[in-house]
């Protein structure tokens, strides 16, 4: 046996992930030693500082293009861009998570172990401060996402998948109100997510059998070798893709989305809609563009059908929804379809436009859920659509902001929704996928209807007796809303800087 040679490790390139994981571990430790009354400020501060520090290191490392720790992690343009996006969106989500002035104690349960409906539960619902373990959990989730988009071999990717999924399952269960719904959502998400992980892992095993390796470069080389088993290749690819499409909420792997989005505490829903989407599509892009571009003709059609299905399911079912969070969930499914259209362009523009779309959509959806968390009555959030009637009369500013976000989702120009749709559709036509664009346009028409219906309800109907008041947001939510709305507008009017950035970043290393 020769000397065991340790792989080179570029700690600088790994720093963003290390910072978040370090902060997460520190946060767990703090839970044990810091008195309960002071945890909130310390945990929130620690999390924010960690996110900002990680963001700074991403910016410092912006020119790094390297494959490090033995080929497990690739830090290249897309990695850094997506990590930066996740961190930015993560900061905004954290602002929503940390909000405590809208509802006494915040959106989270004070102790997850309290039995639902017991005396203790009633006491905690009436304003005991929420549990602070959400901050380390969020740090673990975000750290896992950073690793997920950087993973250069499928096993690392699987580990990252689990690292960011498990905290999310837990976070979903921690709502202060409607706890049964929240726990049900968490259990559903966990069970289905476990299936998806198992599929992914099985796919990895098959691909290992196919190529003899798990790193993407070796798989790429093996794909080019005609002597190998195509059955293993396609079965493995399909199973890995299912795992990734599940996280992206693409049809027919989307069924968890409405339930989980509805049941989870709204800040967590926002986190999932923005950051998880970035992570899932980041990984999907890397796997398809780096490892499997040799068989693009084989998977393009299948994934194209999935994209069409996703757009149709999201758009058609969004029309029938009566709950705001479910409506946004189906809208998020449809948006996953538009993102897939960008992915399937399979060219440089496809990569850059998908990344642009992820950022643009992330900010809009964060603002949307931020507003959902404000419309509430004595029972908590009033998410039923009928309750929003006449909101424009009672609170014109918030109804105006929400209308703007909805117009962005509908793709009206001068919003980021338009520029991002334009970018992915343009890339897709360039990549010869005109049929996907046609379906994209048709579903955009369908999808405009539910958005418009909400705008009509808010502005053109008289407020009823049950129309709830819009809570005055605290500083954190106000900041999150302002960032989301300004980004939605700015990316719609002056998208050029971000487009240039995505263009410069759109090159994977292999």
């Amino acid at each position: 046996m020769g000397d065991l040679k340790l792989p080179d490790i570029d700690y600088g390139a790994l720093a963003p992930m290390l910072i978040l994981f370090g902060a997460a571990c520190l946060g767990v430790l703090l839970e044990a030693v810091v008195p309960k009354a002071r945890r909130y400020a310390i945990q929130l501060g620690l999390a924010l500082v960690a996110l900002v520090a990680a963001l700074v290191t991403v910016i410092v490392e912006r020119n790094t293009r390297i494959v490090t720790i033995g080929g497990a992690v690739a830090v290249d343009g897309p990695t850094l861009f997506l990590q930066g996006s996740i961190l930015l969106l993560g900061v905004v989500s954290l602002l929503l998570i940390g909000e405590r002035s809208i509802e006494a104690g915040g959106a989270f349960v004070s102790q997850a172990a309290i039995t639902v409906g017991s005396q203790k539960d009633l006491r905690q619902a009436s304003g005991q401060p929420g549990g602070t373990e959400v901050y380390p959990l969020t740090m673990f989730a975000l750290g896992g996402m950073l690793l997920f988009v950087a993973a250069n071999d499928l096993l690392t990717m699987f580990v990252a998948l689990e690292v960011f999924s498990l905290p999310l399952y837990l976070l979903c269960a921690l709502a202060r109100r409607r706890r049964l719904l929240s726990q049900e959502a968490a259990l559903k998400y966990f069970l289905l997510g476990s299936y998806a992980s198992a599929f992914f892992l099985f796919g990895v095993a098959l691909l290992y059998g196919f190529s003899g390796a798990v790193d993407l470069a070796s798989i790429h080389a093996a794909v080019a070798d005609p002597a190998r088993s195509e059955v293993l290749l396609f079965a493995g690819l399909a199973l890995v893709a299912i795992g990734l499409l599940f996280k992206s909420a693409a049809a027919p792997f989307h069924v968890w989305t409405p339930d989980v989005y509805q049941g989870a505490p709204t800040p967590i829903t926002a986190l999932m809609a923005a950051c998880t989407k970035v992570a899932a599509f980041g990984a999907l892009l890397r796997v398809l563009y780096v490892a499997f571009d040799g068989v693009r003709w084989d998977f393009q059609l299948v994934l194209g059908v999935i994209a069409v299905l996703t757009m149709l399911v999201g758009a058609v079912l969004a029309v029938t929804q009566t709950d705001m969070k479910r409506l946004l969930a189906y809208s998020s499914i449809a948006n996953a379809g538009y993102l897939l259209v960008g992915v399937l362009a399979l060219n440089k523009d496809g990569l850059s436009s998908t990344m642009f779309y992820l950022v643009a959509y992330g900010f809009s959806v964060l603002a949307a859920f931020g507003i959902v968390s404000l419309v509430r009555d004595a029972e908590g959030e009033a998410t039923h659509l009928s309750r929003w009637a006449g909101l424009g009369r009672k609170s014109p500013l918030f109804a105006g902001v929400f209308s703007f976000i909805l117009l962005a989702f509908a793709g009206i120009p001068l919003t980021s929704g338009f520029t991002s749709k334009f970018a992915v559709f343009g890339a897709a036509i360039d990549g010869g996928q005109t049929w996907l664009v046609i379906f994209g346009v048709i579903t955009s028409m369908l999808l405009a209807f539910p958005y418009l219906r909400v705008i009509v309800m808010m502005w053109l109907q008289e407020p009823g007796e049950s129309t709830p008041a819009v809570s005055i947001p605290g500083f954190l939510t106000s900041a999150a809303l302002a960032i989301g709305v300004i980004a939605t507008f700015a990316l719609g009017v002056i998208p050029a800087p971000l487009l240039d950035l995505t263009n410069d970043a759109a090159q994977f290393v292999r």
């Binding site: 793709g411 001068l414 005109t434 664009v437 346009v441 405009a448 502005w459 053109l460 487009l499 263009n503």
Partner: protein, 512 residues
């Protein structure tokens, strides 16, 4: 003067005005109205300056400006106006002050915010000017879509009965058309060599594949046909026309819908000439059906605003066949028709609005003999009706005649059938006038106090300029045709159809 950035200032000015008016507190409605009116008059003055600076025998596109916007896609803030755009811009600038003045008491201050309404009107003016001034396809699309938002809120928040339904229908119809156009715009960008500049795209258009060009044409054409609206995409207009406040409806049919026909002339014909020729029979048939069908429906209407909406659809049929007849006469007639229709139908809607405001109802059967109570107003309605049916001496006569003559030289059958539309027009206008203002006085009318008040000074100021313009252009259309003619000739050359006698109008004679 030639280098003055007319178009960008003209586009931005109403937007700034809208922002100013929007921030006026809700209680100060009169201040908001006054500022909006003055602002729109400044825009009018600027547009007249532009008219003077426009050189009739100069380049096809003048006042060109171009500023960087999104370099990745080569989308730029490019503005330029040809004769067609110029007359439309001036029409907008003329109509908006009239509409603002006509809306003076339309908004119930107790229920709705007055400043918001006038801010929306100015915002609408900004997008309308932008859509005609843009010479960049991306910019055009942006204005085309954003235009929906202020109109949607005007109809939805300030309209009459069934306003929600009408607003949503208006928005969805236009959005559906617009999304077809979006697909075509992206396609055009890809096949045209990743540029949005109209001139570059036109140069590239010669190399388009036949089938690609036809699909792209269709994408644009559907959007414009919905907007115009042509049969069978017209069903949103009567609903929107009825639900919108009458002055806003004047703007809707007077200008907003012209974006459709303008778009066909600016984008469909020059960029896809072969496809335009290929699709021309379809467009002609739709136009002729629209003329007859909408006129028949108009005859049967009992709601004044719905009636005027249907007459509008019939008129758009005329504009449509004039465009797709591919002769300079018919083309000039169509563009002139766009202007005259804006004036005549705009006036008709405004006057109908004055009647509706007095009576509190738009139903023909609620009137009857109104001329005995408000003789002058009834006279104006009669004049607007006559202009609308293209009586010789009023401006629409010239345009309708040009369209029919120009169409007759190439498509005799269509021209003959379309002529029936003139008879029907006489029927719906005269019968409407007769049932509302002539005959025995409806006793219910005398019980409405407002019906005893004839035209006010404010209303006179609203209608006088439009009446004067209709008469002036009816007797002496040369200033307008001189501006339009070169642009139309160039468009017809783009399509590849030239005719030997383009100067017939310029010489003051209508027939060859």
């Amino acid at each position: 003067m030639k280098d003055f950035p007319f178009l960008s200032i003209l586009t931005l000015l109403p937007l700034v005005g809208a922002a100013v008016v929007a921030f006026i507190p809700r209680g100060k409605g009169n201040l908001a109205k006054t500022i909006a009116l003055v602002w729109s008059l400044v825009v009018l003055a600027l547009s007249i300056g532009m008219w003077v600076a426009f050189q009739v025998d100069g380049d096809r596109f003048q006042f060109r400006e171009s500023y960087q916007w999104i370099p990745t896609w080569d989308a730029r803030f490019t503005f330029a106006a040809d004769g067609i755009a110029l007359v439309m811009l001036v029409l907008i600038a003329v109509l908006v002050p009239a509409v603002i003045l006509a809306s003076w008491h339309d908004v119930d201050e107790a229920k709705r915010s007055v400043p918001t309404y006038f801010a929306l009107l100015l915002a609408l003016e900004c997008t309308m000017i932008g859509v005609f001034a843009a010479a960049d396809v991306f910019l055009f699309y942006v204005f085309f879509e954003v235009m929906l938002v202020p109109m949607y809120f005007i109809i939805g928040s300030y309209g009459g009965q069934r306003r929600q339904y009408a607003a949503v229908k208006f928005f969805l119809y236009s959005l559906v058309g617009g999304l077809f156009m979006l697909a075509a715009v992206i396609g055009l960008w890809v096949v045209g060599g990743h540029t949005f500049d109209w001139a570059n795209l036109k140069d590239a258009s010669a190399a388009f594949e036949t089938n690609t060009a036809r699909w792209l044409f269709l994408g644009f054409f559907i959007a414009f046909a919905v907007k115009a609206p042509f049969f069978p995409f017209h069903t949103w207009l009567p609903d929107a026309g009825v639900a919108a406040p009458a002055p806003a409806a004047a703007l809707l049919v007077g200008v907003l819908d012209k974006v459709g026909t303008f778009g066909i002339l600016r984008y469909c014909l020059p960029l896809f000439p072969e496809a335009a020729r290929w699709f021309a029979p379809v467009a002609l048939v739709l136009g002729v059906i629209g003329i007859i069908y909408a006129a028949l429906l108009a005859v049967g209407q009992n709601d004044l605003k719905r009636l005027v909406s249907y007459t509008s659809i019939a008129h758009f049929g005329f504009i449509g066949i004039g465009i797709f007849a591919f002769t300079t006469q018919a083309g000039t007639g169509s563009v002139l028709y766009m202007v005259n229709h804006g004036l005549a139908t705009g006036l008709l809607f405004l006057v109908v609005g004055m009647f509706v405001a007095r009576r509190g109802s738009a139903l023909v059967s609620d009137f009857g003999g109104a001329g005995k109570l408000v003789p002058v107003l009834a006279g104006v309605l009669f004049f607007a009706g006559l202009a609308s049916l293209a009586l010789p001496g009023t401006a629409p006569f010239v345009s309708e005649f040009l369209v029919l003559i120009g169409t007759f030289t190439t498509h005799k059958v269509y021209a003959v059938i379309a002529t029936v539309g003139i008879i029907l027009a006489a029927a719906y206008v005269l019968w409407m006038v007769q049932r509302t203002t002539q005959g025995t006085l409806n006793p219910a009318l005398t019980e409405v106090p407002a019906m005893h008040k004839d035209i006010t000074l404010r209303e006179k100021v609203v209608v006088a300029p439009l009446v004067l313009l209709l008469l002036l252009l009816g007797f002496y259309p040369k200033p307008v045709t001189d501006v339009i003619n070169p642009a139309v000739q160039a468009t017809m050359q783009d399509v590849g159809r030239t005719d030997p006698a383009p100067t017939a109008v310029a010489n003051g004679k209508v027939a060859r």
